[in-house]
């Protein structure tokens, strides 16, 4: 035990970070070649497909766009996705592949779900196996899982071009970036992960739900479906919307500790790898390493803290007669005394405390939002970890593309703040940072904060908002705070006791998701356009280097400061009070 955490937990956390880094570095280099239009191993297969798509779309793939044109293309594409998905969900009842004859969704639920998936949030107001047909899951949700992630990656690439080019108003072609992200990156990775998960027991079938005659003589309906294909992109695209209501806690989505490792690596893989893509594309790998280091230095302590709080357990259960001590077995031994101990409510035996807590940190550090344990049943401080990671603006790895472009906004703020401290004009990668960039960066950082606090306040003072609360006391407030934090930062996980499938929550959460996505994405494109137009300034003695440990430390400081200062009062009313109530016995 060290810091209240078992040796086995440290080993599993270390293994996770090693596997992640070992895969992220080469993938990052590959993605840089893809987005730069260089030949890759897959060009022979996908090159003709890419050209065919452009021909059918009537797109000249080498014609580049200004930031405004790029933004119009992003919005039109997202809007098309919304209309299509909304239509599929409302019309589900008359569409094929619906063996359980599930009816169409109500308009408010369809609105919420469609917004949720086009914004890469994947908030689940719906209940998976009880609400959606195989057709809706496969043709509706899976498609948006791919393209919403690809949109995020495309916008990131536009921002990188803004940083590296000078004296131009061109940022690349959205359609080219979108198609490349899907064809060369998301599709092949998803196929690999889907087949690997299938080998471990994740189901992939179009059979209607099975009925089993149990040993005690009852009938048990077992929901089935084409899960593996959706599971893979759900994790890789930082989407997180489960095929089943309980997401990756469900044994058919996540059957073994090994499938759990594959899924956890998939959560952070693309956001982490994009740091290395960035370093390569700006021609200075140290810049990418510095950002990856900043993310990792925030992530690991938060993951460890979540493990510690969950392992400490719930004193109420101990008073009721629970034995919460963890009995460790070495290696693959399983003596008759072995148990995970700690706070096991809402957690699966095969994952125990450690893999549930690491997952909770990873899924909220990235804007994934899948769960393999019920966050509402976490200890108050264990649940504070995922909440705070989302409140940092989903920049600790963050979403596919959106995580790094959000992080670069924080980098711009950091060079500005550091510049103020030493009295120099702030620069980043040879570009002077001016008032316009800082204004846009401020919108991108502060708007989600305002959405979270404003919407939470509205919900907890109105009867419609209070009606959805499940747990008594401070935890009830935390449920609402968590929901709007998750929506406005495009995460998608929940304190799922909250009854969010009501017109009030469906509408308000959907608006938070929309504004939280596009009022970060659009300012980022504006920054990209403004930076591309500037002249490059040569490095001088007055330039603050942005690849040093000092800069990494200031960057982390800025992220923590903004997150904690903005949310300290709200967090005191929720998790902190709940914790004090728990320990007073």
């Amino acid at each position: 035990m060290w810091l209240g955490i078992t040796a086995s937990a440290w080993v599993q956390l270390a293994l996770y970070m090693c596997v992640l880094t070992a895969l992220a570095v080469p993938l990052g280099g590959y993605m840089a070649r893809v987005f730069s239009g260089e030949r890759t191993v897959l060009t022979a297969i996908f090159g003709p497909v890419e050209r065919l798509i452009h021909r059918l779309c009537g797109v000249n793939s080498v014609e580049e766009m200004t930031w405004k044109t790029y933004a119009v293309a992003v919005i039109l594409f997202s809007l098309t996705g919304f209309v299509l998905l909304f239509g599929l969900l409302v019309g589900q009842g008359v569409l094929p592949l619906n063996p359980q004859h599930l009816p169409g969704l109500t308009p408010d639920l369809a609105f919420n779900t469609a917004v949720s998936f086009i914004t890469n949030t994947n908030w689940q107001s719906y209940g998976g196996e009880t609400t959606l047909s195989y057709f809706s899951q496969m043709v509706g949700l899976t498609v948006q899982n791919f393209v919403s992630a690809a949109v995020g990656m495309a916008v990131l690439v536009a921002l990188i071009r803004g940083l590296t080019r000078h004296s131009t108003d061109r940022l690349g072609n959205f359609w080219t970036d979108l198609v490349r992200a899907n064809l060369y990156i998301l599709l092949p990775l998803s196929l690999i992960v889907a087949v690997a998960l299938g080998g471990l027991g994740v189901i992939q079938t179009f059979d209607s739900y099975a009925t089993a005659r149990t040993l005690e003589g009852r009938d048990q309906v077992i929901a089935l479906g084409p899960v593996a294909s959706q599971e893979a992109i759900k994790m890789l695209g930082t989407n997180g919307g489960g095929f089943f209501n309980t997401n990756s806690a469900h044994p058919f989505e996540n059957p073994t500790p090994f499938s759990n490792l594959i899924e956890m690596v998939s959560i952070l893989l693309i956001p982490a790898a994009l740091c290395f893509t960035f370093g390569k594309m700006v021609g200075d790998r140290r810049q990418g390493v510095a950002i990856f280091a900043a993310m990792t230095l925030v992530f690991v302590p938060f993951a460890a803290a979540a493990i510690g709080f969950e392992q400490a357990g719930n004193p109420h259960l101990v008073a009721a007669g629970a034995d919460p001590t963890t009995a460790q077995a070495g290696g693959n031994m399983a003596p008759a005394t072995a148990q995970a101990g700690g706070n096991m409510e809402g957690k699966e035996t095969r994952f125990g405390i450690v893999n549930s807590a690491i997952w909770a940190a990873a899924t909220t550090a990235a804007s994934n939002g899948s769960v393999n344990a019920m966050h509402d049943s976490f200890t108050p401080l264990g649940g504070l970890v995922p909440m705070l990671l989302m409140k940092f603006g989903e920049v600790i790895y963050g979403g596919a593309g959106s995580g790094l472009y959000g992080m670069l906004v924080f980098v711009i703020l950091t060079v500005f703040i550091a510049g103020l401290m030493v009295g120099r004009t702030p620069e980043y990668l040879g570009k002077k940072i001016g008032g316009y960039e800082i204004k846009m960066a401020s919108i991108a950082v502060l708007l989600p904060c305002a959405l979270v606090l404003g919407a939470t306040a509205l919900a907890v003072v109105t009867p419609l908002g209070k009606a959805g609360i499940f747990n008594p006391g401070a935890q009830g407030f935390s449920e609402v705070l968590y929901a709007f934090t998750s929506a406005a930062n495009n995460n998608g996980s929940a304190f799922a006791g909250l009854s969010a499938n009501t017109p009030f929550y469906n509408t308000l959460l959907a608006l938070c998701m929309l504004f939280g996505r596009f009022f970060v994405l659009l300012p980022v494109l504006a920054i990209a356009g403004s930076l591309a137009a500037k002249k490059a300034v040569p490095v001088s003695a007055g330039t603050l280097p942005t690849h040093t440990p000092l800069f990494v430390a200031i960057l982390i400081g800025v992220i923590l400061l903004i997150g904690v200062l903005t949310y300290a009062p709200a967090l005191a009313l929720g998790p902190v009070i709940e914790h004090l109530n728990m320990i007073k016995g």
């Binding site: 044109t69 189901i203 044994p251 072995a338 699966e348 200890t379």
Partner: protein
């Protein structure tokens, strides 16, 4: 003008991605996964003759004293409803959490601290496993209900127990349904 120029690629590309990512990709995955892992692809179902009696990955509700019991399940309307997975979502201070735990301890009829996983609900409500400690505590009850020796019960439990994957990942665990199938002599 700008809008109209980009409307065509928006519509056409969304249609093509729907074909590619929503049609070809899941169908290709289905072909490969069903070809390589036919049994797993269809839910790892267990059959007794022609009748499906469960899935190796999905827990069942056990209440009779001669069976090993699994985690509590918060699915509605009945526990272990694999058509509607759900956790309890009880917060740590919710009195219902303690009530459920006390009810389980009473039903178990054991004295002394009970392994925490046996008195709490799983995340999915369908957890097929319990910890080895949670199985061991039930051995005397099962043995006396079935009129067999504790060692015979332990042998069934041992055969259905897995350690950490690769000695590192996850937690040691006992597959509850498999133990009970062994106790019933349905698998040897």
């Amino acid at each position: 003008m700008l809008l109209i120029t980009h409307l065509r690629p928006a519509l056409v590309s969304m249609g093509l991605f729907t074909l590619l990512c929503g049609g070809l990709y899941p169908l290709a995955t289905t072909g490969i996964v069903q070809g390589l892992f036919a049994d797993k692809a269809k839910g790892s179902l267990i059959r007794d003759g022609q009748t499906v009696i469960g899935s190796r990955l999905i827990g069942q509700n056990f209440t009779q004293p001669g069976y090993l019991w699994g985690r509590l399940s918060a699915t509605g309307p009945a526990p272990y409803n694999a058509g509607a997975s759900s956790g309890s979502n009880y917060g740590v201070n919710n009195p219902a959490l303690v009530t459920a735990a006390q009810g389980r301890i009473e039903a178990l009829g054991v004295t002394g601290p009970v392994p925490v996983d046996l008195i709490t609900a799983s995340g999915s409500g369908l957890d097929p496993h319990i910890s080895p400690a949670a199985a061991e505590i039930q051995v005397p009850r099962i043995a006396s209900a079935r009129g067999v020796t504790p060692e015979q019960v332990r042998a069934a439990i041992h055969a259905a127990t897995e350690g950490r994957s690769f000695g590192i990942l996850g937690e040691p665990r006992v597959n509850v349904l498999e133990v009970n199938l062994r106790l019933d002599g349905k698998i040897k």
